[in-house]
């Protein structure tokens, strides 16, 4: 068996020494950027390679991060649909425009509420576990072992998680879109007294395919943010046991903020540059 020359990922060293002071922030930004570039590189690489163990890891991550979140996302989306229809109908009741609540469901369900809700649910469920898992691997020297074998930890640990989330989040968002609408229909027909055909007609008039597409694009963006923020927090953890919990907490906080900040930027772009879509 011959040993072939090693291939190098573009990002190079992604582990940034943890210090205090001004250099830390800059170093973390550089480190996080390198992590993102390297992870995206390996993500593309994984699509075309079937030889590596990392490929089979995607399946495991999909089960853990995607299928594992099904019940949470499905039940939450259904409830959010009910909450949304009640809340909007309640606000519009004074104007005699309760029927507009159905249009509202169609307006912001697919484009805004479903992708953001799914992203936040996945953050709540998985960001801490991603960061905790990688942090514990770091403290157990598993990441050092990978590097000592000349293996890139980003390829074997981060890229499969990123791949799984990039697949799972849009899929969960589509599911959430459906259940959010179902919750709206249940609320409007059972509790507000609108007929099914009226709901369907109002929904059809308000719903636009581009809203669904924008929601899915957002979910992919959120997948990148969640995977990279949580992985970065875990993989760069300090080598002490208490740091694992701190990294998990930081991962959740930063991923939530990251998702909301990205959503704000996207919405601002669509608002100020209407011709963008």
């Amino acid at each position: 068996m011959t040993v072939v020359p090693a291939e190098g990922a573009p990002g190079g060293e992604v582990f940034v020494p943890l210090d205090t002071g001004a250099d830390t922030f800059q170093a973390r930004i550089i480190g996080r950027s390198r992590l993102a570039i390297t992870a995206i590189y390996w993500l593309a690489w994984l699509l075309f390679s079937r030889r590596t163990v990392a490929g089979t890891s995607i399946q495991r991550e999909l089960e853990a991060l995607g299928i594992g979140a099904l019940r949470l996302v499905m039940s939450s989306a259904l409830l959010l649909g009910l909450i949304a229809i009640f809340q909007v109908a309640y606000q519009l009741k004074g104007y005699g425009a309760e029927a507009l609540s159905i249009s509202a469901i169609a307006w912001f369900g697919a484009r805004e509420l479903a992708p953001v809700a799914v992203a936040l649910l996945v953050v709540a469920r998985s960001a801490a576990s991603i960061a905790g898992e990688l942090a514990s691997m770091r403290t157990n020297a598993e990441i050092d072992a990978l590097r000592a074998m000349g293996l890139d930890p980003v390829k074997y640990l981060v890229a499969p998680k990123l791949a799984a989330l990039v697949i799972a989040l849009p899929a969960l968002t589509i599911l959430a879109d459906g259940l959010f609408t179902l919750g709206g229909w249940i609320g409007s027909s059972v509790f507000l007294g609108f007929g099914t055909s009226f709901f369907a007609e109002q929904y059809r008039l308000a719903f636009q395919l581009r809203d669904l597409i924008i929601g899915l694009v957002k979910s992919i963006l959120f997948a990148f943010i969640i995977a990279l923020v949580a992985s970065d927090e875990g993989i760069n953890v300090e080598n002490r046991v208490a740091a694992i919990g701190e990294a998990a907490t930081r991962a959740v906080v930063l991923a939530v903020l990251g998702v909301l900040a990205a959503d704000t930027v996207v919405n601002a772009v669509f608002y100020f540059i209407p011709s963008f879509v």
Binding site: M1, V3, V4, E142, A148, G150, L151
Partner: protein
């Protein structure tokens, strides 16, 4: 540099910024077994991490299998080339717990060789057999490493470290946490594998019990400095109390 050296550390000081090692030098001939002996926090693991390129030093050179590497840091591509010539068994084994036993051993083969998945699997099975895990058969191959006992984990780590047929095998406290029977079996396995494959062995340890009969040279490290080196016989006559204490520590006989 000498041609018959599998590993040579020349005037290593590091890590950068907060040095723990001070002008450390050592050399390991091909096919020989050496022990870096020192008390806890003497810098043994830091030295191992420098040799593997996990830490960057402020000065020094590491020579692995005839090729020089700058201890101050090399590119990832150069480090990967160096790491294929080194096998490392970390303290606590450091197996990838989320992977099965077989997948752990396959990892370096799939990454660094042109072996197909099937070939890598066969080689991994041979390695597991060579380290004495063949008795458990297919059941253990598909077991997650997290579910193995400490002795079995150490053997899997050994199989993984030998996957690329390294010139030098580095073991950090290989028998730490093992009962005396398991430790002796691991020593025996290591000696047998060294006989058949001819790799050099460097054991980083606070005692010289394991592989004792095999040790050609002992490097004594205290507070990041190599204070003395030699055979057990010569070191027994050392003027340093610490050296004699370490050599005569319980379990050294």
């Amino acid at each position: 540099m000498t041609d018959d050296l599998a590993l040579e550390v020349q005037h290593l000081t590091g890590p950068t910024g907060a040095p723990v090692l001070f002008d450390v030098s050592m050399s390991v001939p091909y096919g020989r077994t050496c022990v870096v002996l020192g008390p806890i926090h003497s810098g043994k693991t830091v030295l191992l991490r420098h040799i593997v390129g996990l830490e960057a030093g402020s000065s020094g050179t590491i020579v692995v299998d005839g090729e020089d590497f700058d201890a101050r840091g090399e590119s990832e591509v150069v480090l990967r080339r160096m790491r294929t010539r080194l096998g490392v068994v970390f303290q606590g084994s450091a197996l990838i717990n989320r992977l099965t036993v077989l997948e752990n051993v396959e990892l370096p083969l799939l990454e660094h060789t042109s072996a197909t998945a099937q070939e890598a699997r066969e080689v991994a099975r041979e390695l597991l057999s060579a380290v004495g895990l063949q008795a458990a058969g297919a059941a253990i191959e598909e077991t997650s490493c997290a579910h193995l006992d400490r002795a079995a984990q150490r053997r899997v780590a050994l199989a993984r470290a030998l996957a690329l047929r390294p010139a030098v095998l580095l073991l950090d406290e290989p028998t730490l946490g093992l009962d005396s029977h398991s430790a002796a079996e691991l020593d025996h396995t290591l000696e047998r594998l060294q006989d058949t494959s001819g790799f050099s062995v460097v054991i980083f340890s606070h005692e010289v019990r394991h592989a004792f009969g095999r040790v050609d040279r002992i490097f004594v490290m205290v507070k990041g400095t190599m204070i003395e080196s030699g055979t057990r016989e010569t070191l027994q006559k050392s003027q340093h109390d610490m050296v004699r204490r370490l050599l005569n520590r319980r379990g050294a006989a």
